[in-house]
């Protein structure tokens, strides 16, 4: 069973043992079959690196399938905290015959390839470091149960990788306990598999000195959580009262995990629920229930993804026009249509911003981290009630379903803001004189009563048809105009209340970068690359909401070029920014990543360099105007503004 260490030519060129190992900077890519239980193994591997104190992220790339189709899991560990997706793989664990060819071919020279013996990867390339492992045989030695054998084979590779790169056994045992919630039988069995894998590595495989994980202390006090669970916890602490949903990937886990937290933390001393959750018959009903509940005064929400948003369009227009609060989470996946249900995208920006027919414009919050998922869950419930309108929260599959490191969430100190409610007492003070849609305060936000208010003048009639300031049916032109103009005023007010963008200004930077949501991770790393590799300074504005706040215009005005980086084909946010900045719109350039996989830093860096002509000018950024199109990979996005589209490499 002995494995000889082969150092391929290419590897020797790039790296020699004298260089010493790369410490705490590696990407592990596991190729398995959906439904084989590899999820647990990958979580354990990721968590054990986290427990070694090394910043880490894990991304699950899975098919829309229950069992049998290929699935990949990528773990990136990085001592400097760069945990965006990285395309280059350092260690491949090859377990799937269906994808073995493309998986091995995609590796860069010098990478490590651990493979299941029958796949015989060794013959495919000569420039990789191969480790052949007889998984089936090793699993057989662990158990006679064929079903368990399959699961344990996956745990074996955790032991092998751990031993190869130096993860402490104790950290794996701790991670296993966490994963299996201390279930002794499961933990013991899996520990056996881990030990078997480690032992096999020590006795039958040659060690490697290329990549090492060493203990550091950058994850102390941090948590690991996915964005959907973070949103769920935020909603629970935000006092959500009515929750509705219809199952859809990648949103389902948001309400599913919320149900667990609600049962734990929102049941009173008599065992009664302080919430209601309904699994609706479809997304139309889900949003209808949210609006019904919002109308009756509850803090209500639903969660869905693109196809569900499309179905909700009519109701959302009603919510906007009749002024009813409600929160709608959109965990974006790739569209149009069914699209790629298990891949990530930022393609719903325009759809949610103006959802429904007629003139509509909605408040949209855009979290880019799990802690913002938590914060914005509460913020959205507040804003919906303050503005009496549907509020969207635009997350995505990458944020929602993948595990992220974070500082622990801060307890929400702010009081709930329930908006302008007209109570029976206030009505008495006013002598019962009030108008449901009267703009008393000049901010476009009227007062509302809730059904059941004990006052003879509390009632009004809500309708999606034309109405006047007193909620009476009206088709009069002046009434209609007054209503929609006031709604526009309300939208203007919203600009002052939505979360402001996060801005990092660098003195003297000519280039401004704009991104939002999960593009943030790659963008931050790209800024680092631009500075380190080309000494290019960039300022960065991260949008956190729509409508735009005043900071955006100022930021664009301050920079020569502003690159809007986003994960959709058309540069939807870029278009909205162009509309917003008016005469500065020629400064806006688009960098677009839309393969369904998360954006990576190198992609952004290359795009910026290409459009800045740095590639051809080693002395640094040129003074000449940026090229309109500099390569075939840079198609024009309408004349004259520039665009960089791509990632055909995925």
């Amino acid at each position: 069973m002995s494995e000889t260490l082969i150092v391929p030519a290419a590897l020797e060129e790039n790296w020699s043992p004298g260089d010493g190992p790369v410490i705490n900077d590696l990407t592990i890519h596991v190729a398995t079959v959906n439904g084989s239980g590899s999820q647990s193994s990958n979580s354990v591997l990721m968590r054990s690196i986290f427990q070694m104190g090394v910043p880490v992220s894990g991304k699950n790339m899975f098919p829309s399938n229950i069992a049998g189709l290929p699935t990949w899991f990528t773990i990136r560990a990085n001592k400097d905290g760069w945990i965006a997706r990285k395309k280059e793989v350092d260690i491949l664990v090859c377990m799937n015959a269906q994808t073995v060819k493309e998986d091995v071919e995609a590796l860069t020279a010098g990478s490590i390839c651990i493979y299941d013996a029958p796949l015989n990867c060794r013959v495919m390339r000569s420039d990789l470091l191969f480790y052949e492992v007889p998984f089936a045989k090793l699993a057989m030695e662990l158990t006679t149960d064929p079903r368990l054998r399959k699961l344990l084979a996956n745990m074996l590779y955790v032991g092998i990788v751990a031993e190869l790169i130096g993860i402490d056994r104790q950290e794996i045992v701790t991670a296993l306990n966490k994963q299996f919630k201390g279930k002794k039988k499961a933990v013991d069995l899996n520990v056996q598999a881990i030990d078997k894998g480690m032992e096999h590595t020590r006795t039958a495989l040659e060690g490697q000195q290329r990549f090492r994980i060493e203990r550091m202390h950058k994850t102390e006090g941090k948590i690991i959580i996915d964005g959907n669970a973070a949103a769920a916890i935020g909603s629970v602490f935000g006092g959500v009262q009515v929750v509705t949903w219809y199952p859809i990937t990648p949103s389902s886990s948001l309400v599913e995990s919320m149900i667990d937290y609600l049962k734990e933390y929102r049941v009173d001393e008599n065992g009664k629920a302080t919430f209601a959750v309904v699994q609706a018959e479809d997304e139309l009903a889900a949003v209808g229930m949210v609006l019904g509940a919002g109308w009756a005064g509850a803090r209500s929400m639903t969660s869905t993804s693109g196809p569900g948003i499309s179905l909700m369009a009519e109701f959302v227009g009603l919510g906007y026009f009749a002024e009813i609060p409600g929160v709608i989470w959109d965990i974006q996946r790739v569209g149009p249509s069914t699209g790629l249900p298990t891949r990530t995208s930022q393609g719903d920006v325009l759809e949610v911003f103006t959802l429904s027919h007629g003139d509509t414009q909605h408040i949209v919050l855009i979290p880019s981290s799990v802690s913002e998922c938590f914060d914005f869950a509460i913020e959205a419930l507040d804003l919906a009630e303050m503005f009496q309108t549907p509020v969207f929260v635009l997350s995505d599959l990458d944020l929602g379903m993948n595990n992220w490191m974070s500082d622990p969430f801060k307890y929400p100190e702010k009081e709930f803001r329930r908006g302008k409610i007209m109570t029976a007492e206030k009505l008495t003070e006013l002598g019962g004189k009030w108008g449901r849609y009267l703009d008393v305060d000049g901010d476009g936000i009227p007062y509302r009563t809730v059904p059941g208010t004990a006052h003879l003048d509390a009632a009004y009639f809500t309708r999606g048809s034309g109405h006047d300031a007193y909620a009476r049916y009206s088709e009069r032109p002046e009434d209609y105009k007054a209503t929609v103009d006031r709604l526009a005023r309300k939208n203007e007010t919203a600009r002052k209340f939505v979360p402001k963008p996060a801005i990092e200004r660098v003195e003297g930077a000519r280039i401004g970068l704009v991104a939002y949501g999960t593009t943030d991770f790659a963008l931050q790393e790209s800024r680092h690359q631009l500075k380190k590799e080309k000494n290019i300074d960039t300022s960065y504005l991260r949008l956190r909401a729509l409508p735009f706040t005043s900071e955006l215009k100022a930021f664009v005005a301050e920079h020569e070029h502003v690159y809007v980086v986003e994960q959709n084909r058309d540069g939807q946010m870029g278009d909205l920014i162009r509309l917003e900045v008016g005469s500065d719109q020629s400064k806006i350039r688009k960098i677009l990543h839309y393969s369904g996989l998360p954006c990576d830093a190198r992609f952004i860096t290359n795009a910026v360099l290409t459009m800045e002509e740095v590639a051809s000018s080693p002395s640094g950024p040129g003074k000449s105007p940026a090229p309109e199109v500099s390569s075939s990979r840079v198609p024009m996005q309408g004349p004259p503004p520039l665009g960089f589209k791509g990632d055909g490499q995925d």
Binding site: Q241, G288, A296, A458
Partner: protein, 350 residues
Amino acid sequence: MADSTIKSTTEVPKENRLGLKALDYGGGKSTLCAGCGHDAVTNQIIRAFYEMSVKAENVAKFSGIGCSSKTPAYFLSRSHGFNSVHGRMPSVATGAILANHKLIGIGISGDGDTASIGLGQFMHMVRRNIPIIYIIENNGVYGLTKGQFSATADEGSKLKSGVVNDLPPMDLCALAVELGCGFVARGFAGDPKQMVNILKASIAHSGTAVIDVISPCVTFNNHEGSTKGYTYSKEHQELLHQIGFVPSYEQIEVDYEPGTVREVTMHDGSTVLLRKLEEDYDPTNTIQAISRLHEATQAGQMLTGLIFLTPEKKSFTELLNVVDQPLYSLTADVTKPSREALDAIMQELM
């Protein structure tokens, strides 16, 4: 034909128990066609709520889109109303009732709104047993879009233009029974006495009460060849029984021979009286209810009465086991978990 109701010996007072007059239960002026069946239903709703002494401020009115869906503006102006979107009123009502389960919900829909675009939501509302009185003002046509057939139009029924409907009708009562609805009735806008008793019983019911009312459209479906016009309906109305209603605060003061009347006690303590006109019709027997409805259809009869009644079924809000105080009114001291709770969750995630 026999009288559809059991006469009560109790006189209706000029003021109800809240000291209110029938006028206090009125609404805006109807904009429907003169003689519209829907207006007759509206009048009986006003009467039922008045006679039952319901506090209008605690009622929430819902509707979808269509002629029928306009009517909540014509009654109970002291109640909040919500004219929502076509066919999707059940979800709006569901949300509102979850937010405040003390509301008395009444939804007005039509045959287009319920049997076509809204069939899914109607069925799921019934399946969940949302506490609401759900009235379908059924005239077999789309009135507001000027007279197209709906899915409840009878086979062979004729439009004014002479077009004949060749698709079978949906029987919303049979459907509701099939879905486990605890209160299923069919009324006729031309029989106000029966209607008001059905309505009163529905107010006393704690789950979904489905009331299918044949409510003729005088403009588009009241001609010769129509099977949902006044004349045709009057001629074909078939009474399942005579209905009486005795509220919880009154004594039963009706004289009847033993064995001829079935008494059903409602959730709030009131009593529904059903006097046999047919042998052994049991309104708690699903199979009998469905087969009787089918027999009526085959015989060309318009069967009216309280077709199915099982008041003890748990409503959705009861199933969800929510606190007694309406959810919407809970404040942060109840709905915002403690600092320690968040700490515990964070610890778990470390």
